[in-house]
Symmetry: C2
Subunit: 434 residues, 2 copies
Amino acid sequence: MPKLISTRTRIADLGKPRIIVIGGGFGGLEVAKGLNGLKAQTVLFDRYNHHCFQPLLYQVATSGLESNSIVFPFRKRFGSQPDFFFRLGEVTQIKPEENYIETSIGGVKYDYLVIANGASTNYYGLKDVEDNAVAMKTIIDAIKLRNIIIRNFETALLTDDPELMNSLMDFVIVGGGPTGVELAGALAELKTHVFPKDYPELELSHMDIHLVEATPRLLNGMSDKSSQKSLEYLQRMGVKVHLNCAVKSYDGYEVLFNTGEKLITRTMIWAAGVKGTPIGGIPAESLGRAGRIQVDEFNRVKGYTNIFAIGDAAIMSGDPNYPNGHPMMAPPAIQQGRLVAKNIKRLIQKKEMKPFRYTDKGSMATIGRNQAVVDLKGLRFQGFFAWLVWMFVHLISIIGFRNKIFVMFSWFWSYFSYDKSNRLIIARPKDGVQ
Amino acid sequence: MPKLISTRTRIADLGKPRIIVIGGGFGGLEVAKGLNGLKAQTVLFDRYNHHCFQPLLYQVATSGLESNSIVFPFRKRFGSQPDFFFRLGEVTQIKPEENYIETSIGGVKYDYLVIANGASTNYYGLKDVEDNAVAMKTIIDAIKLRNIIIRNFETALLTDDPELMNSLMDFVIVGGGPTGVELAGALAELKTHVFPKDYPELELSHMDIHLVEATPRLLNGMSDKSSQKSLEYLQRMGVKVHLNCAVKSYDGYEVLFNTGEKLITRTMIWAAGVKGTPIGGIPAESLGRAGRIQVDEFNRVKGYTNIFAIGDAAIMSGDPNYPNGHPMMAPPAIQQGRLVAKNIKRLIQKKEMKPFRYTDKGSMATIGRNQAVVDLKGLRFQGFFAWLVWMFVHLISIIGFRNKIFVMFSWFWSYFSYDKSNRLIIARPKDGVQ
């Protein structure tokens, strides 16, 4: 039987406080980094053995980047950090009254607990969508989508039935946030620059990319100007944008909208929303909007003094600029992670904690080559320069020098060759892989 | 229902001869390339949508290279070749009397057929080994092995039972050919340079790498000097080499050898042999040693005038230097593929075919950084220079400029950092991926 605490391995009780971090996303990673140098034991749990740079998942799905260059092994990052321990496993239950968590690989006590398990896809109760659509939250999702896109085109070659063929060549992306917008743009590039060379047997004008957004505009978190410009870019690239339109049902073939409209597609990509990932032991009354855990200004979970929640997992009340919680994106998670690490240090040193204040550095999205929109504090721009800024910011944010080089080289290569080189199905149905 | 021949797609009957190539490995690729410019239709079938550079699979398995940099999409290679068609599918049955093949995606007639479906792993009837060992023939095998190696180490952290721990940290590689030798060397490098940093909680001296070979020496296809030197290199790196030793049984935990010895391991890598991949419709009497299809000096399958078999799939009689057939490696496949393409052209032009003569350019294997063995015609050398030659030859052989750059950069990076960066488990058991 697996033992998390063993006399042999150094995760044994060391007489130091043990801080357990659940999840190595943007927030959890900052906590673990920030605890370096503290006389304490840090234990990071994750379902994967690597951090994933989620903002670029859509480029993996559309063959622009290989999966390995946007992920980074935790052990490589923290190999030399004293008293740091990584454990590959899923936390299944928190027992706050015992300061104890149960995981898929055994149970362990904590002195401080940081819940940074991120968000999962929100299907808003649409069970048929959940069963039939592809999400865009994990590296597995991205590889699955890449396989599906390419396999669909290979299958489209085999039919004379125009409806069946169209169902394979059409894509419906639901959700006009950054993921949906960026994915739509990348698919439009495949249509224009890559697939005509790969599939001369197919009439590429039959490939329709639909982007569906329930509100009146794209990129709701950004300025009107950026919304408008991204819509223009996408339409110029041939993407069919449906605003004020929501999905009612999807059976894997027919999409029904609340407007009464219908579309036929084998591939719906669901980027319409995220919600907190439920974790056993957190009472329902501690949860807020979208299933996120309610926290105070120190990111402490309501009712507990030694349990924190950060990033997408948490919703902080009391920030007048964000009555519905901070945006479920990397920057709040990173800033909260850094502060929680410092606050835990302060707690251990019997000092007072500092409250969280979110610094909004702006946001950006890329729509395609030379086309991006950027909103910075008081500064808004679009087009080629925005696209350069977008690339620069993402490059410096990716963990690992080697990954930066690989991503940069891939981008250069794609830019000058108009190619996306990773259009591979690295799986066969009989291997049990999508 | 899928239709291979359709009025809409251009694979329709064009009034030109149709040449079908089964398999896009080293041999099949050369056939398809060689048919360029011929007034004929070339149709390539493969189970994958990409060519795989098999000689470097072991580096994917040991986290040295990412999977994408050793594979290359067929459509990218042949996108602009006129009258070339790729079809993703498996050929299930040949009906020579009708000049017809059945595939997983429908049936199609041929004028000329080239069987280049390569080899599959030969377990020599050991069913329990087949069920419990990992092979090293496909990109999926390599990714599976990478996942297993890392997952084993993550699990080894959780136990106090020394036998269980050793079973997770020990590896038994069966087969002392290039794949086995190169894999053993790469695992030894993980042990020395990478895992001590990743797993400070584990005593790495417990990690045993066993290389098992049934004959008295490693690298049987190479010179005595190279065999001897590779044995020296491996032993210096701590690999336990067992010569004159064959596996009798393996239940996933205990390996029993014909010497009566036993070993405990969760991970057996089976690189002990390959055999032809059976294909329906080729009569048993046409098969030779190791299930390879008997061909004449023009690579024509015995008894047929328009069916060819090349590479690992074929065994050619009549070459006095190779009474057991040409080696099951890339060079004979490449040379036969080139010649078969030319001979099909000659047949169509009613000219006489040219017989195959194998040019042995030598062979080589790498054991680790600065260590390789090279046998060229009349020239044998080992060590650092051999290692440079090995790298150079492999780099120029990989398809695609972009792949060359990625592989070269990965090698440089690993050389100077002593790191292997792709130690990722990009799969979770519940995703249905190993």
